[in-house]
Symmetry: D3
Subunit: 265 residues, 6 copies
């Protein structure tokens, strides 16, 4: 079976740079997969895409050096299984707040007797190889998102669940709940991140985190996060375009769009 590079890098003590896709296009997906990142996550929660978009995106990522992941919209075992069948090598699941939820997530991603994943490997056979079914459980990664106050409180129990390969922190939702807003400063949620990272280290579970930029990702990596996402594809594209406009229209405030034209005729 084709190895999971994320596992390989984490086991080797290396950091994983993970791209994040919200644009429903297999062309941009393939371009991002060739940008030097180690993994690419197709975001089905806040990304503007659906299963019929995700399939060709996963195929396109398969033509690049990067390992494909998905973030699912919620803890729905049927949807999770479909995306594994489509060739995702790991599932990032939002809003995991309890060990029961974490265990249900593990179960959705594992074949019997380790879990309740239904047999029907479909495209994952093409991507993983003919021995996919026997080796999937040791290859596919289960990645709960830690992004609620309850999850922070119960982090020890969640980390103790058998089969968690990586936890992924969602700092924005955590800030919203703990600090009451998303913008900085957000001292309570930052403290919670430190707490969760420390617990993960003690449990030997690597921790990842969503970041808004490469600079933030670098600082998170320095702080001990092993799997970092330097912003979404859409943010990279539009930020770069706004910067280009700024270069060309100097003095123009490119943070806000120009005064919009009247709509309608």
């Amino acid at each position: 079976m084709r190895p999971n590079q994320i596992r390989t890098r984490l086991e080797a003590g290396e950091t994983v740079v993970n791209a994040w896709l919200s644009i429903p296009s297999s062309y941009s997906a393939e371009g991002v997969g060739h940008s030097g990142v180690h993994s690419v996550t197709v975001d089905m929660q806040h990304g503007m895409l659906d299963f019929s978009d995700a399939l060709p995106m996963l195929q396109a990522i398969s033509a690049t050096p990067a390992t494909p992941l998905v973030r699912v919209p919620n803890l729905d075992p049927a949807q999770i299984m479909r995306l594994l069948d489509a060739g995702a090598y790991g599932v990032i699941c939002p809003m995991i707040s309890t060990p029961q939820q974490a265990a249900e997530l593990v179960s959705a991603c594992r074949y019997p007797p380790n879990g309740k994943r239904s047999f029907g490997p479909s495209r994952s056979l093409l991507y993983g190889g003919p021995d996919y079914v026997t080796k999937a459980d040791e290859t596919v990664m289960v990645i709960p998102m830690i992004e609620t106050a309850e999850a922070v409180e119960r982090i020890e129990d969640i980390l103790a669940v058998d089969g968690i390969d990586l936890i992924y922190l969602g700092p924005n939702d955590l800030a919203f709940e703990l600090d009451g807003h998303v913008g900085f400063p957000r001292p309570k949620s930052e403290m919670a991140l430190v707490h969760v990272l420390d617990a993960a280290n003690r449990h030997g579970v690597p921790a990842g985190i969503f970041c808004d930029s490469a600079e933030e990702a670098r600082s998170r990596a320095t702080a001990g996060f092993r799997f970092v996402t330097p912003g979404t594809d859409f943010a990279h594209l539009t930020r770069s375009m706004r910067e280009a406009v700024g270069v060309l229209m100097d003095g123009a405030d490119t943070e806000k769009p120009l005064a919009p034209a009247k709509h309608g005729y």
Copy 2:
């Protein structure tokens, strides 16, 4: 009828910043349309998209302050008319090398008696307004690309064709033909660009140009080009992603992708 901002800006002596779309997605199109650019061109020549992709992209651009254009793959009147019917406010047509071709392009974009555009305004009525048919000819822009040695030679005749609203220079194809390669330095094609710009100025026809970056676009604008494209969406996205990887993996050569994983199982 909704005015064409490109015309408005050019008449006011202002520069037009034009975005270039090759990713087949209405979501990225809308994001780019809100980035501060004045126009957005859907590229059907080298872009990875077709009519069925272009339609929702043109609709999405209509929800932004930017004016929608298309670059068609070639001088095919039927395809040009379809894209005007779909709401494009101008057509950039590659490889126009003779006044006859330029005149045929004008004819494809204008209703009788100014041209041979077939009646059937479809979506352009929604975008332009109920008076679209009577005002289309004064609103829609005809934009031949000047990118061949022959076009440079015959530039005076091409510029004399009635109905040319803007010429758009394709420096890469011109360099390929004149200098024998695309990379710099490319003295012959650069000299040709100067020659064409000068002729355009004399004829009172504004000139635009495709650029690889905002910096190049700025320098072209300084040189007198009135409509500049600071690179494609795909280039912005992937360059920004590679830079992010560079920030995170310092020392890594992010110009080339990392050593690719073995393909297949």
Copy 3:
């Protein structure tokens, strides 16, 4: 943030004419959005469309004067959040029968601390504007459907749930349950509609209703419904086509299709 015209009209005491889309096309969506209606609902319950269809439809509606809504297939917070991220300015949710369900619907549509909507505004930033996150809760509308006997019984409790902006009555499902059939006469469900409208008026919550035609919608508006839907796009299209056939084939029974050709070769 771009205002929600439905709120504006309701606050001004005006009736809202709402279109209903079941055809998966951004072109027909844009045409309907320009037909004079105040809002357009993308129907993901009985409409023949999915998220990947809804996205370009919401974009196309954004290019018209109408405000975009969605009807979701069920009370699934993850799906509801995705559609809000895609730019819907309100969510019509079927089969809300209890105050608990109504409160869960509110929670899915509101950011903390008003609810549990996850952060990741995506396209809604483009449609709503850069201040979307801070103003979304006062702009986005929460619209439970009242269409079960249980909902009628518990209407006072449902209307008392904080955050309900509008209730939307589903007379067909209500008739099916209360009268045992969908066709007229259906006295029990009609009485229930009166009862619910009266309760809504007492609670100061505007009430809307699905109708099969403009005539029915007019009569409902006269009866006090403030938000009326005069039939689906598909019904308008096919009824108009059948009428055209009737004009052309007089005497032909256009209510039933003509005798179908033998299928197969």
Copy 4:
């Protein structure tokens, strides 16, 4: 092979009611196909659709009593052949102005030795039946559009071309060229229509015509046109919606959209 109902009706002296599809949706296509019309034309010239839209639309029409046609964007034999392979039972081709063009159209639609259609029947085998290849030439209809001054002048020669099954008049493009505008009155083009219809009758070739409404179609049928199109799907849908708004907002001028909301935030 499945018979072509248009031929059957024309041979029986009956009028054919033909629907016209510009909305890229197989759902609306199927609905229209069940509305009582005898044929349905997928419009690839002014319709907002492409081959990848046309395929499922042709399939959906195949599930209805109506016979599927296409209007192609231009006289491009490769595209025409693809649509015949996709199951169209006839091709309406715009802007046929000379007998040479008419003959080229016939050739594109006929297998050797009658023409140059390439072998590769694909889906047409499924729709037509296993004997498709041997019977296609007597079933598939070749339908040039007569819509230019030149075509009117050369109508006798065009009608004399072997293999023309029906001519289809495009009154709008003809009016644009002959009368200088599309709106009524348009005496020159109306006279030309009469002239062409008369010639067609003399040659024994049935004539069809595009109309804007059922009423116009009825009057055209009375005048001797045997194949009439009572407006596009998009026109039926949006006209019906505007009428509904008119019923609901009495006094509102529903011909023009309501004052559009400010676009942008």
Copy 5:
């Protein structure tokens, strides 16, 4: 209403040959529908397809002699209702393990008072006919999958649920759970299949089963299964292709792909 051929054949004591679609294409769907099978199931669980793929596939199947079914990914009433609205004439639902689940499945597929299906027949009116709503409950088939140890244990109770039209056995998932692997031999699950078939016979409920090949399906039919699926479309396609390679590259081991080329440049 158009009759359900599966019911007709089962009532006549005939076996039903059912095709299984996992390729998201309406073209292959139509081809399979014309291959002589009696029904075609669009697989939304392990198939690589979504609602927006399923709709044109169901339409394409409607143009063939076969009756359309869907397999849904899970027991989600909202999704089940949407697919019935899209014209499926039966729903195969995985992982039904209890009579409560079976009853919930029945309820999702039946209109009041037999169940809780929401009114909004959409495309099913086109496929079934104008009397769809009154006859749907006696036409549409409810088909729980029996594929868990718990379902085997509770098979008598499940079969006793009113409204079960057919049970469909999933031998692979059953083997995974009971025998610990999917490959043969798998004595425990085979014994369970016998047990379930026997119970079904006693209850007068016909039993169907998924098979990997025509040969296996034949043997299952001989054993008493009345509805058999001889493998997926994808399996037929790729097996046939591998056999072709085997014929051409004799000696080559076509069970495994050839040594893959290095991926990347």
Copy 6:
């Protein structure tokens, strides 16, 4: 740049097994690419697919060991260039009958000074690698189809055109023209095939051929064809399905579909 396996095998004296795709699906494309074939051709002439289908199919093939080709619908340089930009490693072009057409085909596929391909490599950079532009001309294959009487007559001149990498024979169209039908026996076209193969051998240009089955392909390979296509994906799929029905319904005539159900309600 990633090597072209077809060239490698041909240079090594090995036969190339080429698959043929007419189903518009990236999933079936990827499955076929893993079936052991050496190349996969996306058929845009008789295949039921368009550019927007071809793009994800080419991406999916890139994730397999097979080399991607396209068959274009006709000699349209703009379309050919787009497909090369999309990553096709060769272009099969139908109906090449003269050396002028062959030279135009070469020109469309080659960068200056070897041809007139426009610069804008897009996805081909991702598939081929960063040195794509400099090495494309020696990698991409130019493959005219020989399938007309005129081409057979002028085969020596066509083969003498510089830049032809392979010729591909279309026996069906040739039979249609020379023998007057497609079915066997077809002595004239068979003799022409022998003649063309002999000429190709003398010119040192390898010859390929479309076949209906693996058996025919084997016999063609034995006869000296170096690149053979054992039928389309659609043929493999539907033939295999019909055989399965034959196994299950013994005695049933599976060559013809079963008696079709009445269509319509």
